[in-house]
């Protein structure tokens, strides 16, 4: 009974926490249906679907959103790739300077964005790099890297290092070990890092604003639009983005489930699915050598 109550409490608390995270999102989605009278969209005036009728009416808004998504995907891909390798090196190898690199990787998170953004812009200007899509990409990869490293690392550190040794022992080289063993095992961590990086990239304003040149991103557009009142189409597009991400995620889950089922039924495909950890209690290492 007691345990049941506890589980309930836990569930209620978690629901409340997720609701807390969703309160503003709920408002944003709600106001995409607001029949707002003026240009401002923060007084509820009744339900309408009219903003959903032409969400892509403003081509610049759409361009901004597309830029954001493209930059988000590309910078996520690059940051996750680079960051995963960096995390691997930090976890798997002992070498001189490891502590220093650890700290160094942490620093971007501790630097105020405006300083980072302006400093980076100065660099581009000195080397006569014209700012735009590419420079935004560079900046986003830069600040996403730390988050990727921290996230992937956490996963790697939870992984038995002997598993990689086992792969090598069985004749797999560095690369094969990585592709066949390490990557499938840290996949959840890499995926989490990817989602985080994408989210950070899609939401960044300050650093982007310095390095954007004539390229407009979704946050930049919205920030600039506050002067004229953010149109409800922005809420519509934000809501669509949310739905798209949710759909993708759902698809991914389905795909994984199918893969793992096929694997379980002997198809031999490698399911990249998170496994419950082996229920083995290893004793304190007794022969540390």
């Amino acid at each position: 009974m007691n345990a049941r109550v506890r589980t309930w409490m836990l569930g209620i608390w978690s629901t409340a926490a997720i609701l807390y995270l969703f309160i503003p999102i709920f408002i944003v989605v709600l106001f995409s249906f607001n029949d707002n009278r003026g240009r401002f969209n923060f007084t509820w005036n009744g339900f309408t679907l009219r903003h959903w009728a032409h969400p892509f009416r403003d081509p610049d808004l759409v361009t901004a959103l597309r830029n954001s998504i493209e930059i988000g995907l590309l910078s996520t891909a690059v940051a996750v790739t680079l960051g995963t390798f960096l995390a691997m090196a930090l976890v798997r190898y002992r070498f001189r300077g490891r502590g220093a690199i650890d700290l160094f990787v942490f620093l971007p998170m501790a630097t105020p964005e405006v300083v980072m953004g302006a400093a980076l812009l100065a660099l581009f200007l000195v080397f006569n790099v014209s700012t735009g899509f590419v420079t935004i990409l560079i900046a986003h990869v830069m600040f996403c890297l730390s988050y990727v490293v921290v996230t992937v690392r956490a996963r790697l550190e939870g992984m038995d290092p002997h598993i990689e040794e086992a792969a090598r022992d069985l004749g797999a080289g560095e690369m094969t070990t990585f592709w066949k063993v390490t990557l499938p095992m840290i996949a959840p961590g890499v995926a989490a890092a990817g989602v985080l990086a994408f989210a950070l990239s899609v939401d960044d304003y300050v650093i982007t604003s310095f390095n954007a040149g004539q390229t407009q991103t979704f946050p930049l557009f919205i920030f600039g639009a506050t002067r004229q009142g953010v149109p409800a189409e922005v809420n519509v597009l934000a809501t669509m983005l949310l739905i798209a991400v949710l759909l993708l995620m759902g698809l991914n889950v389905l795909l994984q489930r199918r893969l793992s089922r096929r694997d379980a039924s002997g198809g031999g495909a490698e399911a990249v699915e998170e496994e419950p950890r082996p229920m083995v209690v290893t004793p304190a290492p007794s022969a540390a050598g």
Partner: protein, 290 residues
């Protein structure tokens, strides 16, 4: 192939792994930041230009002038971090052990706020917390807010906003550290929890310490430099050091002070991390962080 060269090659291996990311960070973060270090030691003014004069006094002046905002930043960030920890721990626990097949979906929900631009989020908060809104009324009813009191434009609003913005950063590492914990150990701990709270404190929490540490950092560090929440949900009495840096950079064009403020903030954060790490008893900061 001689043994030495091979060993040398093998010792280079981690560097090959790290090289792309490190080069990226060095070129696009360290070099520009180093410039900022240089800038912070310049003196002059925006009109005549700034010149390198090893003006260390900028640091001293910055501390003297803005120690209030520094302390406020640390205070708000710390409070928000603690709130996040309290909210996130049960949630992460739930995600790790009770969420079952919904786990990935719920994890995504946790990150979801980022997909709604911060401007929209913060405006939403302005609407939610507004003086005549439902939330404020209810809080007045139960006496948490005085009859003529308000939520918006107070420290409470700013801290709420910060806590909100960085909550996902707390949940994720906590979840990761709990998830990789031995379930049986944890079940044993919860069994004991039923009878004795101390068992929970002595088993589950210590095992989650790496996650708590990482989460606190991911939450606390960016929160220290945050300025959006103070600007949009607070008043000038809630401005944090991020607001000062922003203003120094964009309005006042006082780059040396802005840079100096940034470095002081970074230093404070690093010292804070070190102390915190010591309190939590992890010898290697970053080791525990991940």
């Amino acid at each position: 192939m001689s043994a030495i060269s091979l060993r040398w090659r093998r010792s280079l291996l981690p560097w090959w792994f790290m090289a792309p990311a490190l080069i990226w960070l060095i070129v696009f973060f360290a070099v520009p930041l180093f410039n900022q270090l240089n800038v912070s030691l310049m003196s002059g003014n925006a009109d005549a230009g700034y010149h390198s004069t090893w003006a260390f006094h900028t640091y001293w002046d910055a501390i003297r002038t803005y120690h209030v905002q520094f302390l406020r930043s640390l205070e708000y960030a710390a409070i928000a971090t603690v709130i996040d920890l309290i909210i996130a721990f049960p949630l992460a626990y739930f995600l790790a052990f009770r969420a079952g097949r919904w786990r990935n979906f719920l994890l995504l929900l946790v990150i979801m706020p980022f997909f709604v631009s911060y401007v929209l989020r913060t405006v939403a908060w302005q609407l939610i917390l507004n003086d005549n809104g439902w939330v404020a009324d209810r809080l007045r009813d139960i006496g948490l807010v005085s009859q003529h009191g308000r939520l918006l434009a107070t420290s409470t609003a700013v801290i709420t906003g910060i806590a909100y913005n960085f909550l996902p950063f707390m949940v994720l590492p906590l979840y990761v550290s709990l998830e990789r914990m031995d379930r049986r150990l944890l079940e044993a701990a919860t069994d004991l929890y039923a009878s004795r709270v101390t068992a929970f404190r002595k088993v589950t929490v210590p095992l989650a310490i790496p996650g708590i540490f990482a989460g606190s950092l991911l939450c606390f560090i960016p929160a220290c430099g945050d300025y959006v929440n103070a600007a949009l949900l607070g008043t000038s009495r809630q401005y944090m050091i991020g607001n000062v840096v922003q203003s120094k950079y964009l309005d006042v064009l006082d780059y040396p002070t802005a840079a100096a403020l940034s470095f002081i903030l970074m230093l404070l954060i690093l010292v804070g991390i070190a102390l915190y790490g010591r309190v939590l008893g992890s010898r290697n900061l970053m080791e525990a962080a991940a």
